[in-house]
Structures are given as structure tokens and as C-alpha cells.
């Protein structure tokens, strides 16, 4: 699909991935501008409804990124996040959504380069997949 620019909503944990995104910026690491970052206090607080609402609003892909398993500021956030993502994947699979549209990553504060790489990869993948079939408000976005 020519000229299709995917929209990504990224839920980034305040302590790791949000800081990593900051680091990517201050270190002038280039990555596509298709991502809108939503800062959350912990990846463990990302409720499935956040992701469903993102897709409802017309997101083509969603990234949930936070601390590594042992780094969590709140001890077991990533475990909770994995459980939520697991449920979400099952739901989105029944809905007929490609697995690649929801990505779960663990990116620590020092990994600005990793954050940029993940976004680049996601944009490439989503460009191949095309717009999300769940765009309920397609007319509104056009």
C-alpha cells in the first residue's frame, strides 16, 4: 500500500522505556515519527481496555514496553503486564487481528537505541500489513 503511514500507540513505563525514548531523542537516534507515546507509571498498569480503545480509535499497532523482569520499580509489573498481554492476544486473535499489531517489549533506560530499532521494525511490519481492520471510525480519520 503506497503512502500508508501506520499510527502506533506506545504505552511506555515511566521508569524505563519512557526514559529510553528520551535517551533516543537526546542522543539524536533517528526513528520514524509514526509513534504516539503514552506515559504510564508501570507496564503492569496497562489494562486490556487501553489497548482495545487504541484500536477502536484507529491505531494500526500498539506497543507495550516497560522494565525488564528484574528491574521493575514496583517489583512485579512486567509479570502483570505479560498476563494482560496474554489475555489480549487471545481476544485480538478471535477478532481476527494479526499478532504483529500488538508488540510487547522490555526496554531499559539505557537502551535508547533499542527503542528506536523496535519502532523502526514495527513501522516496517505495519506498512506491509496495511491499515488495521478494526478501524471503526475509518470515515472520521479519512
Amino acid at each position: 500500500m503506497a503512502g500508508f503511514e501506520p499510527q502506533i500507540i506506545a504505552f511506555c513505563c515511566n521508569w524505563c522505556t519512557y526514559a529510553a525514548a528520551d535517551l533516543a531523542g537526546t542522543s539524536r537516534v533517528q526513528y520514524p515519527a509514526n509513534v504516539r507515546i503514552v506515559r504510564v507509571m508501570c507496564s503492569g498498569m496497562v489494562n486490556p481496555i487501553y489497548v482495545l480503545k487504541a484500536f477502536e480509535g484507529g491505531a494500526d499497532g500498539v506497543l507495550i514496553a516497560g522494565c525488564h523482569l528484574t528491574d521493575c520499580h514496583y517489583i512485579d509489573g512486567p509479570v502483570k503486564c505479560d498476563a494482560a498481554v496474554d489475555k489480549l492476544r487471545k481476544m485480538l486473535h478471535v477478532l481476527g487481528l494479526e499478532d504483529e499489531r500488538l508488540r510487547r517489549e522490555m526496554i531499559s533506560t539505557s537502551e535508547g537505541v533499542v527503542f528506536a530499532r523496535v519502532i523502526k521494525e514495527m513501522v516496517e511490519q505495519l506498512k506491509k500489513l496495511g491499515p488495521s481492520p478494526l478501524k471503526v471510525k475509518m470515515e472520521a480519520l479519512a
Binding site: 489494562n47 486490556p48 481496555i49 482495545l52 480503545k53 484500536f55 477502536e56 489475555k87 487471545k90 481476544m91 486473535h93 478471535v94 477478532l95 481476527g96 487481528l97 481492520p133 478494526l134 478501524k135 471503526v136 475509518m138
Partner: protein, 382 residues
Amino acid sequence: MNLEDIIQKTKTYYCLECGKCTSICPVARYDSGFSPRMIIEHALLGFEDDLVQNKKLFSCLTCYTCQPECPSDVDFPIFVREARSIAQDNGQYGICAHSGQLQSLARLMTSPAIEQNRLEWLSKEYRVSEDSDVLLWVGCAPYFEPIFEDLEFSALDIIRASLKIMNLLGIEPKLLPNERCCGHDALWTGDVETFKRLAEHNATQIKEAKVKKIVFSCPEGYRTFKLDYPNHVDLGCEVQHLSEFLAEKMGQNGLKFKEIKKKVTYQDPCRLGRHLGVYDAPRKVLESIPGIELIEMKHSGRESICCGTSAFTNCDSYSNLLRAERLSEAAATGADVLITACPKCQTHFRCAMTDKGEEHRPTPKIEITDLANLVADAIGEE
């Protein structure tokens, strides 16, 4: 539709302010802040703002306990439904249980482009046929699976049981690979736009499928198809609940049950009972299984107490008290198993049994299963 139209439609202006609705309302018994009479009165005095800003508007179970008691025949549940759509237009929503995932999924299913993977559970032991004139409605069961996995409840088991029963009756039903949510919850929480879009998607698919009859294992889908779809879309086929379907087939096809020695009690789902008047069919099915002893609860049939939450909205501690009351009644019968005919009743009761705040009112634990599962066990090979 504005408030004036709703008052005309539901004959609210006949209200005598007698308060019978509030005195019989299961919610008002626990939640002193909820009063059907007060809601009607606010509407009649023209306080539209008070009415739609009132979060309690979404506490009504729309269970139809009040309407038959009303001397003026005011249709309170329909009044609430229409008032909720005004409330939604004004940006007021109920407090959605499960953080609104179920409502969101319904909205997502309105998207025309989706191709769902909703029949992956279907294994080879079940026979389905493309050219059958009977359709088995699967509904939200595949979505319930991940959401309610913590409750050890599988809505798909009810569908599997229904399919097994139909197969053993010599019927190979058709299943739709891309059916949408029936829109029940959207309609009853006031999201009429979503409901209409879902209804249109479903009606198109059903017409293409060219079936004569749709069988439901869920009373909410059944009610929506039977009473609400005809106002918006034309289906051109008959709809039936599994219990009615079975009651009709009893004694035909040499249907044989093996003996199950169990005492059971039956919970009338509000949609099946008071909404559609189906009380006898499930009881007839239960009584025809040898060894099953049906003991009625203190409140049964038309008086039966609701499972406490409708359309996954405003599920609060009052709802749990209501469930505790109903489960206590079930336990008091001495029955081994509580039978329901609605997957949502089962979800809510199972959820109440895992409730941690039980010091307020003890919630008895009782085995709970769907009518379809019980019949499938009884009808199985000797």
C-alpha cells in the same frame, strides 16, 4: 428520541407514584439510593438533566420484576433503556464492569473489514453442515473464554454441549464463521448506534445463510433476536432457545437419557423468564432426565431473583449482596447443583463465589452448571 417521546412511548404519564416498583425492585432492596419511582418522577417533572446525570440510571437490572406489578402498566425497563440512550448522547455512561472490555469488543465488531477466527475451538468430534437449515448461535462465547478464564468458567463448553446434543439428535447445525455480537449489551446501555450496526451485519449474514431456524444457548441473544431485531432488521427465520428446542424434541427421535442421581435447582434467567415467558421448557427438560430431582428455590419462576448485573454495567457491592442472597436460596434447597440457562448468570454467580469481601454476607459455594451441560452429560453414550 427525547424525554417527551420516551414518556409517551412507555406510558410513564400514567404513573400513580404508588411505589410498588421500588418496593419490589431487587436493587432498591439493597441500594437505598436507587428508586425506580424517583427516576420516573424526575422524568415526569421534566428534570431531564437530573435524570441523565444520575449514575443510578445504569444500576437498573432491566429484569422486568417491576413492570408486571405496576397498576398503570408503565414499562420501566424500556423507559430506562431509552433514557440511557439520552444519557449516552450527553456523555454519561454507566460504570462498566471488567473495565469496559466487553463493550469495547462489541464496538470493534461493528467494523466491516474484520474476519474473525471464532470457530477454532470446533474439533472433529462435532458435526456441522454448511447446508443445514438450523443455525446454532455461538455469540460472545469465544470472547468470554480469555476474559473469564480466572473464574474457571468456559462459555464455549456450553456451546460444545449444545452442539453435542444437536448431533446426537441427528441434527448437524450450521455455524456462522463471522457472526457479530448480537448487540444486547450495547442496546441496554444506550449505545443504539452500535446496536444497529451489529444488527445489520448479523441480518445480512443470516439472510445469506438461508436458514429456517436459529437456536440460542444464551437468553440475551435470544431476546435480542426475538424482540429487538424485528424493529430494525428483517431476519426471515424462526428463533428458539435451546431449552424450547429440546422440550419440543423430547420423546421424538428415540431420545434416551441415562440416569443422573442429583438434586438440582433452577435459576430462571431474567431474559428467558420474565422477558420472554419461557418458564416451562427448561423444567420439562430437567424433569425428563431420570434421577434428577428438581427442587424450586423460595423465589422461582416469575418471582425469581436476578443474578445481580445486567449488560456488564454498574456491578457493585449491592450486586454482590443480591447474588449472595440468591446463592443462599439455592443452597437452602439442599440441591447439589444450581442449573442456569444463561452463560451470564453463571459468570456472575461464579464471580460472587470468589468474592473476598464475604464478611458482610456469607456467599455459599454451590456447584453451578448450564442446562446444556447437564443434558449433554445425560444424553451421552451409555
